[in-house]
């Protein structure tokens, strides 16, 4: 593994962002719109609901965390799509670059882009809507870590899917987080779900994050060990997504799809 080669993949993305406001603006605009929208919704709910319950941490905090996961996933998949859009696979994969180095470069890009989104959301939610996110201190970091790892796993799996199905499949990728959100209990306890959905949610690391956050906000008891389950699950999903991408890459090399990716299929 050569760090310099992974760095080259990330540097390419940095060059793209540094020379393109149309790439930079979406990094913070969409999350800002989400925070503003949900910020006012929580204010309204606080006004009409019975006193004693604060919707700001319960809803706005949940939106912030879910958007963070979504941005991490999109950071990986958008970086991959840049190579699709510029038809760069032949140039890229005829170099000594390994799959692991390539994915590491995509993940590095995602760390940078998702941190921009997270910082924007934290500033707005704290300064405008009074979300006391920093009151939790370092205790919030494990929750963010699990969400980050889940977003990375989802991003790698999504890129593998796009490599397998061709450029048009990017439209399957964007709604992936929305498809998962009902199962992970972003806004409601997992116990609200029917039993079969609860079983699915147990397999999804973000479920443990949102259950834990909800318990802390409501001041109820919660076993921190369950977050460890989320951590190990997300780590396992990253490994599985990496293996999936490697398998898809090998199939693409075998069938000739990698060299003729724009054709979408070689059959």
């Amino acid at each position: 593994m050569k760090v310099r080669r992974a760095g080259a993949v990330a540097l390419r993305q940095f060059y793209l962002y540094s020379g393109s406001p149309t790439r930079v603006v979406p990094l913070f605009v969409w999350v800002a719109i989400d925070i503003v929208l949900w910020g006012f919704i929580t204010r309204y709910l606080n006004r009409i609901a019975s006193p004693g319950f604060n919707f700001v941490p319960a809803l706005l905090g949940a939106v912030l965390l879910w958007d963070f996961l979504t941005r991490v996933m999109q950071g990986v998949s958008t970086a991959f799509l840049e190579d699709v859009w510029s038809r760069n696979f032949l140039n890229l994969f005829a170099t000594p670059l390994t799959i692991f180095e390539y994915i590491l470069g995509l993940v590095t890009t995602s760390i940078a882009t998702s941190l921009v989104g997270l910082a924007t959301m934290l500033c707005l939610a704290t300064l405008v809507f009074g979300l006391s996110f920093f009151a939790y201190g370092a205790a919030i970091l494990p929750f963010l870590l699990v969400l980050f790892l889940s977003g990375i796993a989802l991003g790698i799996a999504a890129t593998g899917m796009m490599l397998r199905l061709g450029p048009a499949s990017e439209w399957f990728v964007w709604p992936l987080p929305a498809m998962l959100s009902p199962f992970v209990g972003v806004f409601y306890p997992i116990s609200t779900l029917p039993l079969w959905m609860q079983w699915v949610s147990r397999l999804l690391p973000p479920s443990y994050v949102f259950e834990g956050i909800r318990a802390i906000v409501h001041g109820t008891t919660w076993n921190p060990g369950t977050l460890a389950i989320g951590f190990f699950l997300s780590a396992a999903y990253i490994a599985a997504a990496g293996l999936f991408f490697r398998h898809v890459f090998r199939v693409a090399v075998d069938t000739g799809l990698l060299a003729r990716y724009s054709a979408e299929s070689t059959t």
Partner: protein, 250 residues
């Protein structure tokens, strides 16, 4: 004592379901030699090049680059290889310098800034250093692709129709550049082209591919005479017609 080949291709085949694209091709290219891979469209040239570049898995056979088996140690084998192809333009949304820096890092080029300066001067691209590659003329893009191809001073250089879209004056300069590159660095060059004049001028040896097989091999200057053709172009047409008569679309 004969030199160890820098590229050794043995019994290479590629089969797509019912189509045989490359059929048991074997050849070797020693250091300093420029070998032309000729043949009509669909003969299997680009398929062969793609397999040597590691972006297409052979159905059978082996590829050894500078003593390294490509299938066993892909990354190590590709470290000493590079290529330029008319169908593989560098990302148009990066500048000339950015493209060379990114690919220089991918090939782990030492003293990269100096190497980039050297190549920009060699290919007369200095004034385009900060220009996005996508707005360059096709000839300038070809020169950029060639600059990228020489970044790591490759032991094996693959050129797929490298002068296809450039004017005769620049094409002549590029041919001279590649010739001196191969001579000075003792690099092996595999060159595909449909310009028979160019092939005759540049290549030490040529292979004619047809139906995925090597049909003829030899010195491009003497080969036409050996097969009753007036020149290399006539010989090419003969091979292409033979392919046509065998029911393969050109």
């Amino acid at each position: 004592m004969p030199q160890e080949p820098l590229l050794s291709v043995s019994n290479l085949s590629k089969v797509y379901r019912h189509t045989v694209a490359v059929d048991g091709v074997s050849f070797a290219v020693p250091p300093g030699e420029i070998v032309g891979l000729l043949g009509p469209n669909g003969a299997g040239k680009t398929t062969t090049v793609n397999m040597i570049l590691g972006v297409l898995e052979p159905s059978s056979g082996s590829i050894v680059i500078d003593g390294i088996d490509l299938q066993q140690r892909r990354s190590a084998a590709l470290s000493c290889t590079n290529f330029a192809a008319v169908y593989a333009a560098l990302p148009g949304n990066l500048t000339v310098e950015q493209n060379l820096r990114v690919f220089g890092m991918l090939y782990q080029v030492p003293s990269l800034a100096d190497r980039i300066d050297q190549l920009l001067a060699q290919f007369e691209l200095e004034r385009f250093r900060g220009t996005r590659s996508g707005v360059l003329s096709s000839g300038e893009q070809t020169r950029l692709s060639l600059a990228k191809a020489l970044l790591n001073t490759p032991k094996l250089l693959l050129l797929d129709e490298p002068t296809a879209s450039i004017d005769p004056a620049i094409a002549r300069t590029i041919r001279a550049t590649i010739r001196s590159f191969a001579r000075e660095n003792q690099s092996a060059v595999l060159w595909t082209s449909h310009n028979m004049y160019e092939v005759e001028e540049v290549c030490h040896r040529v292979f004619f591919l047809s139906h995925g097989r090597i049909l003829l091999e030899g010195d491009p200057k003497s080969l036409p005479g050996q097969h009753g053709a007036a020149n290399l172009e006539d010989l090419f047409v003969q091979v292409a017609n033979e392919q046509l008569h065998n029911g393969v679309k050109p």
